[in-house]
Symmetry: C2
Subunit: 294 residues, 2 copies
């Protein structure tokens, strides 16, 4: 199935240069990345999995034509989705990651010495294979930490079978289209709630507050119905459209705004530090207003 | 000179739709915006001044093919470049804005009741004319506040003649190419320093920390040589490449980190609130490291 032609969204310009176009069609916006090399393309049971080398951001993982993570800025997303919940929990031991096939989130999670077990539930083994082979800058090189266990199955089915199992559950999904759509809906969040221990915390990526404010506010509202503590935070991710991305943390007990940043593991971080642990929750007026609307 | 053909960076796609392409050539990145209508184009003595209506961000001011401000997100830049220094100064009275032809910065400045005079020094009257006519969402509608005085001349020459004149000086420039290049260099900052009162504050836009970290660190270093207090802050601006933008504040006395946010005018703001006044100075690891390098 290896085929270096026809990656979704790629085109050749009049001058012969190759480009990858990542569109937000509803907004008439297209981010175009100049591609110097195609490293990998495979069509899995779920999607087209490609790795290309872009001029600006180096090796780039692309699923069905949508940029997922890059050599140069992948650390921002992975640090933000992991360190905020893990530093909020006083002693995270059992962690589950739904999605996260680029392996970068799992790699950050094992920086916390209290973590004994990371269940990584990724539906598509081809994403893990491609990331480990071509993107060690994100996935890490060599054998993965033995605390990480890979489960190649549907995250919704996996989590439905778990009770009081996790301290922290991370929904590291792609956009709410196709297979990832259910990961943004209430039945899934109810299962997540049951899968968490009595002081458990979940976090999900909740899309762009600029391009998808409807997704962000719907996630926030649904989680508010289920958890006593719900906090949205932002990060600046250059390769995501609009450059600003939201995450939403929902917690049965611990509140990041009260916990402080003392437990944050900063070693080797390139984005998150203690300052950011506190400031990422401070939202601009337009985001705050959107979350307050019901 | 009105001509609706040939706006720099615009092209027609195979399906007949029109697009504006805003490139960061060194990074092989092009942000393409679908254009529904061309509202204005004039070639002034300095540049091509155009206003187009984009599908995603509404009316958009474009100078020599580079997106400057839009109906939908122009408020972010203008609030951030004005409210941070004006709320840092205990009683700003005399304000100077170099550039800022879209008039949005001046409009924010007069929200501070202590402000008696805003000298707006824009080299190109065509930018002011186009913004006031086509972009009232940014420039404001009706007659400008009488405290704003327009000076259509070279900002460097203007500021060279001033001594102890301003409480706050704002360098609201375009990118450091062409006429704006000198606004990023030491001789200009020395003149700015002299033009400020003994507790004066200046702020400038210091480009993208992702695409132009060299500009940011050079501005930061130069200002450090001249002012005792230098603080870089960030904002998330969706239509600027990479989505995250830096500003650098340099002050003879007042430090925003010590002043607190009590004087911030929040009325009608859509981005800046008190939370952000404090958190915008908290920088990710990779930006901090860049600024610490000499």
């Amino acid at each position: 199935m290896e085929n270096k032609e026809g990656i979704i969204g790629m085109y050749t310009a009049a001058d012969g240069t190759q480009w990858l176009s990542d569109p937000e069609e509803r907004f008439g916006f297209r981010a175009n990345w100049k591609v110097n090399r195609i490293l990998h393309r495979v069509v899995s049971d779920y999607q087209e999995v490609a790795v290309v080398e872009t001029e600006g951001f180096g090796k780039t993982l692309v699923l069905d034509g949508i940029v997922q993570t890059t050599e140069k800025d992948g650390f921002i997303y992975n640090e933000m989705i992991i360190h905020i919940p893990l530093a909020t929990h006083p002693r995270p031991s059992d962690v589950c990651i739904i999605g996260g096939g680029d392996c970068g989130a799992a790699r950050e999670a094992v920086k916390y010495p209290s973590v004994r077990n990371v269940d990584m539930v990724e539906i598509d083994p081809e994403v893990v294979k491609a990331s480990r082979k071509y993107l060690p800058e994100v996935a890490g090189s060599g054998e993965p930490d033995p605390r990480i266990r890979f489960h190649y199955e549907d995250g919704t089915a996996f989590i439905r079978r778990r009770r009081d199992a996790y301290d922290v559950l991370v929904v590291d999904s792609s956009d709410p289209v196709g297979p990832a759509k259910v990961l943004f809906e209430r039945p899934f969040y109810e299962d997540v709630h049951r899968s968490l221990k009595e002081d458990g915390i979940m976090v999900c990526q909740s899309e762009s507050p600029v391009f998808h404010p409807d997704v962000l506010s719907s996630v926030h509202r649904t989680l508010k119905d289920l958890f006593p503590v719900v906090r949205t935070y932002l990060a600046a991710i250059p390769t995501y459209p609009g450059g600003v991305w939201s995450f939403t943390l929902a917690s049965k007990k611990h509140d990041p705004l009260l916990e402080g940043s003392e437990r944050l593991q900063e070693d080797g971080n390139r984005y998150v530090n203690r300052d950011l642990f506190e400031s990422c929750f401070r939202l601009p007026v337009y985001v705050k207003e959107r979350l307050q609307k019901r």
